[in-house]
């Protein structure tokens, strides 16, 4: 048994490989040679993990992955426990459907990070692509639990159709954030893109930075929500992400929407000064 299993990508790859199923909980009982034999997919062709990665370590639920991983998709999909530390930027679907454990990406994440996530924590120190925490195509709901924290910015459709859980974006977020959100929370420290919360049922958008409130949301009041304070404190203590000065104690304008629903959803927009 070793402290950590290290996977090092040998060279830059010219076509995407799909590493779905390479999770720390699955690797935990395996010897080094068995880990190298695990299946990955190159297009429709089967290959072995060891064809692309040097494997060092065995029988550990801590996984460290290094190299130019931008064309490596599906890392950590379905993780139920353990820890993955990814040094560098990764491809699509990182942490999708994970139910537990911790995935830490020291770089950017491609599209669909944390798609339909159910539990655990996914942190991206760089930027994330489109549909972070959103739903599989055609699915009725996106993430149903867990926490996704993107230190940088995120693309479009962040937290779309989320049913529960928390998505935090330290920078800006693209258009259609929290679209058709069922419940859960999207916290944005930077600018929130166009049409946020469209079709939201009971979802919450907490906007620390600028946000254009859709006309289908109705202003309720300006107050200091205890929930936002609890949320910001949690995000700071667990992930080290801080909002601008004053956001913790500040006032927030509450808007109820979206109009076609029963206005159970909300946008809490920080109003400095």
């Amino acid at each position: 048994m070793s402290d950590v299993v290290r996977l090092t990508l040998r060279s830059v790859i010219d076509q995407p490989i799909d590493c779905e199923g390479i999770t720390p909980d699955r690797l935990a009982p395996l010897a080094e040679a068995d880990i190298a034999k695990l299946t990955v997919w190159v297009g429709s062709r089967q290959a072995r993990l060891g064809d692309f990665f040097d494997v060092k370590g065995e029988r550990s639920d801590r996984l460290s992955i290094e190299g130019d991983l931008r064309r490596v998709d599906g890392l950590g999909v379905g993780t139920s426990g353990g820890e993955i530390l990814i040094h560098g930027s990764v491809g699509r679907r990182v942490g999708a459907g994970m139910t537990g454990g911790w995935i830490d990406i020291r770089g950017d994440a491609g599209d669909d990070a944390g798609l339909a996530m159910q539990g655990g924590a996914l942190r991206v120190t760089g930027n994330a692509g489109d549909r972070v925490g959103a739903a599989h195509p055609g699915a009725s709901k996106g993430m149903v639990g867990g926490e996704i924290v993107v230190n940088g910015s995120a693309g479009t459709d962040a937290a779309a159709r989320a049913r529960r859980g928390l998505v935090v974006v330290g920078g800006d977020v693209g258009a259609d954030a929290a679209r058709a959100m069922i419940a859960g929370t999207l916290l944005v420290f930077g600018r929130t893109g166009a049409d946020p919360g469209r079709g939201s049922k009971r979802g919450s958008i907490v906007a620390i930075g600028p946000i254009d409130i859709p006309s289908t949301y109705e202003y309720a009041c300006t107050y200091q929500p205890g929930y936002v304070r609890l949320l910001l404190t949690h995000v700071y203590r667990r992930y080290g992400l801080t909002a601008e000065n004053g956001a913790l104690d500040g006032n927030y304008a509450r808007y109820c929407g979206d109009a076609p629903s029963q206005r159970k959803g909300e946008i809490l927009a920080y109003t400095p000064g």
């Binding site: 529960r164 919450s204 929500p225 205890g226 929930y227 304070r229 609890l230 404190t233 949690h234 913790l248």
Partner: protein
């Protein structure tokens, strides 16, 4: 055994198993957190008449509370799970829900046994309430005239709580008894996992089980330790003792009671105190026995 000239009687405090919860009340200022805490722990000295026992465990700095506001930690005790849930719901609803800026959080997050006091209180929101999950814990946001009240959904229960730890301060005068009792309370104040549920932490009316003169009384005065009726009863008071005060302790577990009794008795051993005793029922009622000389060993 003597500590600084104070005789430690060869006896024990007899205590009972209780169900306990720890509440963290926060507010915009410590004043408001304390205001809610004082109301919540009001009239909660003894389960015999108050249905619960509660007290302030310690004050909390913003760094120690879930929402980074000043707070107060409260310990809350009842005899069974069912009554603990009912009392918590009643008291949080009437004291935290009503108190400006106050929020209520669970202080035993690792306890597997949970009571849904916050879930019960959510209905005050008349279907306009919202729930949110932060860090794996669910919280209810209940709309109130001020804005919003935030209450955690469930509260952990410590099944191995201990109620009724005690010691008696047998002094040469009422002034000396009170001075020693105040010193004991000061020594125990802020110790983790323990509260003193009586006024100022001190009891002057210790009780015995039942009554000789009145049928149906659950408890009556502990006449064996009442100096004014010494000639009329089977007194337990040593010569020269003219006043007795009792310190009663509830704790999250037996070691917490043990540590607090040790600190309190040590502080109470001062001039004007003749002896330290303890209340028990012959060891037949309560499963926890705190033998004074064992508690104070090596002091």
């Amino acid at each position: 055994m003597e500590i600084r000239g104070v005789f430690i009687q060869d006896t024990f405090a007899e205590a009972f198993g209780m169900r306990a919860a720890r509440l963290i009340i926060t507010a915009r200022t410590f004043r408001w957190a304390r205001a809610a805490a004082l109301k919540l722990t009001g009239f909660a000295t003894s389960v015999i008449a108050c249905k619960c026992e509660a007290g302030i465990e310690r004050e909390l700095a913003p760094a120690d509370t879930p929402d980074a506001r000043p707070g107060v930690s409260i310990l809350f005790f009842t005899m069974d799970m069912d009554s603990l849930g009912k009392r918590l719901t009643e008291r949080i609803g009437q004291t935290v829900l009503t108190c400006p800026t106050a929020s209520c959080f669970d202080g035993l997050p690792d306890a597997p046994d949970r009571l849904g006091a916050g879930r019960a209180l959510r209905v005050f929101g008349d279907r306009l309430q919202m729930s949110k999950v932060v860090g794996g814990q669910r919280y209810w946001r209940i709309p109130v005239m001020e804005g919003e009240c935030l209450i955690q959904e469930s509260f952990g229960v410590q099944k191995k709580g201990v109620g009724g730890g005690n010691f008696l301060i047998l002094a040469t005068s009422a002034d000396n008894a009170l001075t020693a009792a105040e010193a004991a309370v000061k020594a125990i104040d802020g110790m983790p996992g323990v509260i003193l549920p009586f006024p100022g932490g001190v009891v002057r009316s210790g009780s015995k089980v039942g009554a000789r003169g009145y049928k149906g009384m659950i408890a009556s005065t502990n006449d064996a330790y009442c100096p004014t009726v010494r000639p009329r009863t089977k007194s337990e008071l040593p010569e020269g003792v003219h006043s007795v005060l009792e310190i009663v302790l509830d704790g999250l577990d037996a070691p917490a009671i043990n540590r607090a009794m040790r600190a309190g008795i040590d502080a109470a051993c001062r001039p004007g105190v003749k002896a330290i005793g303890a209340g028990n029922y012959g060891g037949k009622l309560g499963p926890y026995h705190f033998h004074l000389r064992q508690v104070m060993a090596d002091v």
